[in-house]
Symmetry: C2
Subunit: 206 residues, 2 copies
């Protein structure tokens, strides 16, 4: 596409580098921006610069944060003996959204994947082991994806923690609340049966 | 959604103001940006600021431009007696893409739409009339959408130009090249029949 403005062209080129945004969408977004109040667009531009320059990661749990220690780790009302291990910060948000978990987190920053050349050294695993050594942790909950990479990562960390005196668990897998049995895949349904819970316990969790 | 970083939250809020981008996509884009080279993201932020601050519109044809007169109006090789009237700058790009048109443009900046409160005064119509009075224009081609607003705008401008000694035309409507007759809507097919071209002329335009 030929553009009659170099400024427009360079903006479109930069916007189109974002994932899921092609040339046409970039053009549409750029033209939209031109129709907006310049002040609002300066805010957008500024907030992107801030994002890249000012966001830091929590020194303890590697969650995204504005301060050295994130507000979850700094919250004294949370259960300090419980760590939930997740792949990335989106998982922290998803779990926080449930309001069902009051412990701490540890963000690995990825999963072990020989195919993509990601080994244990690339992930925040050593800092997890150090936390378990130095803090008063009683339980580690794995909340990683149930695929090859997730299972490998869980198993690898589980092995490294095997000599520590802590209990290790993984989140329950099974049919989603509201799912019909007939449409469930057999692995999930099998897992749901295997990990059945006593009826009285299931009543309490409602 | 709760975010553990105010900086992230404000970036997501700004990104999600863009059309077609919701909270989830904004989060995905923000996290993508955090994984990129900060230098690249500064470029994105800068190019958006430039876009809003430095883009101007051509004083003659109202096309987007980096200079007072756009590179199409400034191009002495183009046919200066021919103006194509379009709704917005995207239409200029679409026509330029064909490489079939060597005249000038006039960008109205919208269409007359009583429903949306857009009257002739909101559009660049007076400047079009002035161009026809002052420049040596011989033909005006209307390339507006064939809907209520487009037809109204074409008719309104046509009336205002009725006393000028110029020829006025509209772009041809008909079946797209490659379209099958059986799937065409009746209005388009009817128009294709009405505006049929002599066979020899159709050979020349291939």
């Amino acid at each position: 596409m030929q553009y009659s403005s170099k400024v427009l062209e360079s903006a479109i080129r930069e916007i189109a580098k974002l994932p899921g945004i092609g040339q046409r969408t970039a053009l549409r977004l750029a033209l939209h921006m031109l129709r907006q109040d310049p002040e609002e667009m300066h805010q957008l531009s500024e907030s992107l610069r801030h994002l890249v320059d000012d966001v830091v990661y929590c020194k303890k749990c590697h969650n995204i944060s504005d301060t050295e220690i994130c507000n979850i780790c700094a919250d004294t009302k949370r259960q300090e003996n419980l760590i939930c291990v997740v792949e990335d910060i989106r998982d922290v948000m998803a779990i926080e959204q449930t309001s069902q978990y009051r412990g701490l987190y540890h963000v690995l920053g990825g999963l072990i994947s020989p195919m993509e050349g990601i080994g244990p050294a690339e992930l925040n695993i050593t800092s997890l082991v150090e936390r378990i050594d130095n803090e008063n942790i009683e339980e580690v909950i794995f909340a990683l994806s149930s695929n090859m990479e997730g299972d490998t990562t869980t198993f690898y960390i589980y092995k490294r923690l095997s000599e520590k005196e802590i209990s290790v668990s993984t989140i329950a897998r099974g049919l989603a609340v509201g799912d019909a049995l007939e449409y469930a895949d057999e692995i999930t349904l099998g897992r749901s049966l295997q990990h059945r819970v006593p009826y009285e316990q299931s009543l309490r969790s409602k």
